[in-house]
């Protein structure tokens, strides 16, 4: 199979390591010089940029977290002057404020190159027609994939998300061969294709799915329904977006692009580094990003790292398909949702108490989010008009904060279990 950038993707491991060390020294210097946040972190830790001379020194550097992004909102972590930032994307923060990420011209080049790598690893070529059913917008999925596909030279159908029936007609009419979306949406498209009798007209051969954890069973049913090879790719906006790692057709895990990122696996509780092959939290350091370099970013994604040789020929380490999260973040239709966001949105409505419950289900391949809110004396009225208005206000607040529309259910007080410890507010019923 083809390899997009064999020079780097097949680089001997000791050379990768030397390259990483060189680039690490460079990025540490850049952030210390240009980002007050990192300078302060280093100073507080009694660490000088000159203390970092190779990858072996990585563990000396303090972690960066999603909260740091929130505290530096919007541009505090940028390492270049604003005029050099040519694109902004956002993802959900842990509370109302989104996490903001920026790119220079060169960052966008790097990004599309990395997307081209995983697309190539999934066998996509210039001969393909690729339908992108990720939302185009602040979410990194749509634009991230778009420019990667363009780089490869394939034909793009930028369908964006939603309008399932239209998606299928476009695929059938245009002879689309590659589908890009979340795995749960792929499953739903497959079901709908069968229901509409369009399956036979589809020419799909490969799916490049991401932005959501999924299982082997789900992969099997997608492959069966759409008649494709389903591949997974991994990324997160804080690091770059999609294009941090991607599967090759060997399905030995996702090759993580180590010439641009240093992966580590740490114990999510203690932060201690874990040996190769052990399950823990993925921590990523970016080596080449200009606008928003991050040092030792705690992804909260649980996986394991393997450096053994892959039969595809690539030498870059592989991460296992994600095993889950070390925090309470939910991924719903590809959108990151934190329970704390839901709580702060609800509390913006006067009289609302923080008694709520979050139910996540998967109905016909699509994730649904239901928020139950207890009606206390503070928000109860004898007029139905007022209650319906309340329902709408709460729903609107949630939609604005989360970027997706939940179902809202008003429930009686105390119908949501109270517990003395951490309240169980999230019930995730998603099975495959």
């Amino acid at each position: 199979m083809a390899i997009w950038d064999p020079e780097y993707e097949c680089m001997p491991r000791d050379e990768i390591r030397r390259l990483q060390s060189r680039r690490l020294v460079d990025v540490v210097g850049r952030v210390y010089e240009n980002v007050p946040f990192y300078r302060q972190r280093f100073d507080e830790a009694g660490l000088k940029p000159s203390d970092i001379t190779s990858v072996d020194d990585l563990e000396k550097i303090p972690f960066t977290t999603k909260d740091d992004f929130r505290n530096q909102y919007p541009f505090g972590l940028f390492a270049v002057p604003r005029r050099d930032v040519v694109r902004i994307h956002c993802s959900s923060g842990t509370t109302g404020k989104p996490t903001v990420v920026g790119y220079t011209k060169k960052d966008l080049e790097t990004w599309s190159d990395l997307v081209a790598r995983f697309l190539t690893a999934a066998s996509v070529t210039a001969d393909d027609t690729v339908q992108i059913a990720f939302g185009y917008g602040l979410f990194t999925g749509g634009f991230g994939l778009h420019y990667g596909v363009e780089k490869i030279g394939a034909t793009i159908v930028p369908a964006s998300s939603g309008f399932t029936e239209r998606q299928l007609h476009l695929m059938a009419d245009f002879g689309v061969t590659v589908l890009v979306c979340t795995p749960s949406y792929a499953l739903y498209l497959g079901e709908t294709a069968v229901a509409l009798g369009l399956s036979d007209r589809l020419k799909l051969r490969v799916g490049c799915f991401g932005a959501e954890p999924w299982t082997d069973q789900m992969r099997d049913s997608i492959e069966e329904r759409l008649g494709i090879r389903a591949t997974d790719n991994y990324g997160l906006s804080e690091v770059i977006g999609p294009g941090v790692a991607g599967e090759c057709l060997e399905r030995n895990g996702h090759h993580i692009f180590e010439d641009h990122f240093i992966p580590e696996i740490v114990d999510p509780e203690t932060g201690e580094s874990l040996p190769e092959g052990e399950l823990g939290e993925l921590v990523v350091t970016t080596l080449t990003k200009e606008a928003l370099p991050v040092l030792r970013y705690r992804t909260r994604d649980l996986t394991a790292l393997h450096t053994g040789k892959c039969s595809c020929g690539r030498t870059q380490a592989r991460i296992e398909r994600l095993h889950g999260r070390s925090d309470d973040m939910l991924i719903i239709r590809g959108v990151n949702v934190f329970p704390s966001q839901i709580e702060s949105a609800l509390l913006e409505v006067e009289g609302t108490q923080p008694h709520y419950r979050i139910l996540v289900d998967r109905e016909r391949g699509q994730d649904t989010l239901t928020v139950e809110v207890e009606v206390g004396a503070g928000i109860f009225r004898d007029e139905m008009k007022a209650m319906v208005a309340l329902e709408n206000t709460l729903k609107e607040k949630l939609t604005n904060t989360l970027g997706l529309t939940p179902r809202l259910r008003l429930v009686e007080p105390k119908s949501i279990e109270r517990s003395t410890g951490k309240a169980v507010r999230v019930i995730d019923n998603r099975k495959d």
Binding site: A377, F380, R381, D382, E383, M384, K385, M387, L410, E412
Partner: protein, 143 residues
């Protein structure tokens, strides 16, 4: 001329109405009138009872979200056109009815209506000017 009404928030779940009425029964509270407004998910139960303060206290103690407010009780002629006359008066004055429900006034056995208006003062004035009797009290409250 205002009558106390208890409103209770209920989920659309089997047995919730039974729970409310049992609590009232156990405390020897009599229901004079009631109405339910509901969506597919929840409902608002509105009650006129003989001992409103006690009813409110008991329902609250049982964990229900309840509230008390005052509504207007109007006597209506028990004959064709009785209600239409009242509603026409209000509509001519461009006054909206939030909700209404009918009951039989216990002491007289005559038809009566509970009204909740958006603009209460104006509505009462309009009705009185139109010769409609606003009930000053419902006799069961006398005890």
């Amino acid at each position: 001329m205002q009558v106390p009404q208890i409103s209770v928030f209920l989920e659309n779940k089997t047995g919730r109405m039974a729970d409310v009425t049992e609590i009232l029964a156990q405390n020897d509270i009599n229901i004079i009138a009631l109405s339910v407004a509901d969506t597919s998910e929840f409902g608002i139960l509105r009650l006129i009872v003989n001992k409103p303060e006690e009813a409110y206290k008991m329902l609250k103690a049982a964990g229900f979200t309840a509230m008390t407010n005052f509504v207007i009780a109007v006597e209506v002629a028990d004959e064709p056109g009785g209600l239409a006359k009242i509603l026409r008066l209000l509509s001519d004055a461009v006054l909206n009815v939030e909700y209404m429900y009918a009951f039989v006034e216990p002491s007289t056995g005559r038809a009566a209506l509970i009204f909740r208006f958006e603009k209460e003062t104006e509505a009462v004035r309009t009705l009185q000017a139109g010769g409609i009797a606003i009930l000053q009290k419902i006799d069961v409250f006398k005890d």
